[in-house]
Amino acid sequence: MYHPHLRYAKDVRITHVFIICFRGGAELLFDGVKQHHVTLPSQSNHWDIRQLLVWIKDNLLKDRPELFIQGHTVRPGILVLINDADWELMGELDYQLQDKDNIVFISTLHGG
């Protein structure tokens, strides 16, 4: 029998493309590169920030992981903006990424 929904779930690859930026000194941990265009491997569920952080740690972070991530979340002093809005308003680690989202990590540790 023809079940179009079943076939759709099996065959479609959801491509997630994001722009990830590091500012305020955080870029030092990423070879000084401030902006990264990132394509995440597809998976059945949406990526959330928690998973993104792990991915960043495994794939982008060049130096001193403890200066960026502590435990499951970002180090105290690093702000996260999702599409120019405070991640605290979006669910923080639980926010599910949408295609073409812009995530910015800003370190506040080099501020006055």
Partner: protein
């Protein structure tokens, strides 16, 4: 949320959500309120044009101190950063000054002599020629000030006078190799990261003071946020600078007399500042500092920062609480009553000395234990008034002329230092690398003290003692 119209972009503290326009209004309003509330710059509302009741009259200039040599940067890297900074500063259309830290080796001796406060006579002048200087080597803060300055209308008449004095170091570019070398040697001779921070802070402040005086500025604005001040409060107490918290942390720091340092950003959280920069496209330049990527426990300052930041994550009112405590601190009445001319100031940090210790004080206890633990016992003079407070300066050490005959040990300048600065100087292997203006002033004070001792019996005492 306040306006209930726009969509929230930012949440501050618990439950305070803002949309973009409301945030901007809140942010700018806080800045004006901070300045207005403290009434340091604006003498009431007179002088404001009736067409724009919210116009603020002052003419800012901006300073950037290039500290790359201390951070181990190559000249090429420093030049690149300077050019970037210059580009940003030029957009502000304010006069700006870019100076390498090496300039401290060219400072005049008089920089450490306190300037007479001219506030009463020149208050009006202060309003007309107010200039805010900003340390733009810190990422976010300079940008905020610049953005807000450009929003505020400035008085055009004073601008041209200041513009004549603009000079731009970037083209003259490279500081003398010898000076760079001296600076590196100075910092290499500092044993601890903690002391390095303190020296850097001190030298930077001296240089900014010099720039302010040389260009006729009566006020210096620095960009410390609430977070930074909370960290500084904790560090400073640990560094033995508890007596100067009102000066180091407060809104107005008047230790220099003629040039006041004010901190208009002290009520802002770093998060607010960063969001403002981000949302309203304020340019900034990032440059690594002396403690970039340093481990947590590398210095007292770093440790305090980590402590506060971590605590803040779990207890979001940490920073506010620490900060509010600082607001309750004031200079004690006895210090205020004393005539400023007679009050001896610390050679390095310019704060009134806190080392006039009674025998029942904690400070005296540290001195006693220090003497007990030294191999060669030093006698304390209990009878009469000891010269230079402790009776150690004019005895035994070779003072003489500057340079050769003097044994340049840290202890020789202790009598001119506050408790906190003594601890910092203890971490110096030798005084040889200090800039001349510091060594000369130390000599000057020593000679004055010796001279006073010689003519002591001819003086009519006034309870002043050897100050």
């Amino acid at each position: 949320m306040k306006c209930k119209e726009g969509s929230a972009v930012l949440i501050i503290r618990v439950g305070d959500a803002f949309c973009k326009p409301c945030f901007k209004e809140y942010f700018v309003h806080k800045f004006r309120a901070t300045l207005g509330k403290n009434r340091v710059v604006y003498p009431g509302e007179k002088g404001l044009s009736c067409n724009a009741p919210k116009k603020l009259r002052f003419v800012p200039g901006i300073v950037f101190i290039d500290e790359g040599a201390v951070c181990g940067q190559s000249w090429e890297k420093r030049h690149q950063i300077i050019c970037e900074v210059q580009g940003v500063l030029q957009q502000t259309r304010f006069p700006f000054h870019i100076m390498p830290l090496e300039e401290v080796f060219s400072l005049p001796d008089s920089i450490l002599q306190s300037g007479v406060s001219q506030e009463r006579q020149n208050y009006k002048q202060a309003v007309d020629h107010f200039i805010g200087l900003q340390q733009t080597h810190r990422d976010t803060e300079c940008s905020v000030i610049m953005e807000k300055m450009s929003q505020l209308k400035t008085v055009d008449s004073a601008v041209s006078a200041v513009s004549d004095r603009i000079y731009n170091c970037a083209e003259d570019s490279r500081p003398q190799g010898a000076h760079t070398q001296k600076l590196i040697e100075l910092f290499d001779s500092v044993k601890t990261q903690t002391a390095k921070f303190q020296f850097l802070h001190m030298l930077r402040n001296h240089l900014i003071l010099h720039i302010a005086r040389a260009n006729g500025y009566s006020k210096v604005m620095t960009g410390e946020s609430c977070n930074r001040l909370a960290v500084n409060l904790l560090s400073n107490i640990s560094l033995g600078r508890g007596a100067f918290l009102p000066l180091d942390i407060g809104f107005c720091d008047s230790r220099n007399g003629d040039v006041a340092v004010i901190r208009p950003m002290r009520d802002y959280f770093l998060k607010e500042i960063i969001f403002y920069n981000r949302l309203f496209n304020v340019s900034s330049v990032f440059t690594p500092g002396i403690d970039t990527k340093a481990p947590e426990s590398s210095s007292i300052q770093r440790l305090s920062e980590t402590f506060i930041n971590k605590l803040q994550e779990d207890f979001p009112s940490t920073v506010s609480t620490v900060y509010r405590t600082s607001e309750k601190l004031n200079v004690s009445k006895t210090d205020v009553d004393k005539d400023t001319c007679l009050k001896e100031l610390c050679l390095l940090c310019q704060c009134p000395l806190d080392t006039h210790a009674d025998t029942a004080s904690a400070f005296h206890a540290t001195l006693v234990s220090q003497q007990l633990s030294q191999k060669v016992g030093l006698k304390t003079e209990d009878s009469g008034k000891p010269c230079c407070k402790e009776g150690t300066c004019c005895k035994g050490q070779e003072y003489g002329d500057t340079g050769h005959s003097r044994s340049l040990q840290a202890a020789s300048i202790f009598p001119w230092l506050c408790y906190g600065c003594r601890l910092t100087v203890k971490d110096l292997k030798t005084l040889n690398h200090l800039p001349q203006y510091i060594l000369h002033e130390a000599d000057h004070r020593t000679h004055r003290c010796e001279m006073r001792k010689e003519i002591q019996e001819f003086l009519i005492e006034d309870d002043i003692g050897c100050v």
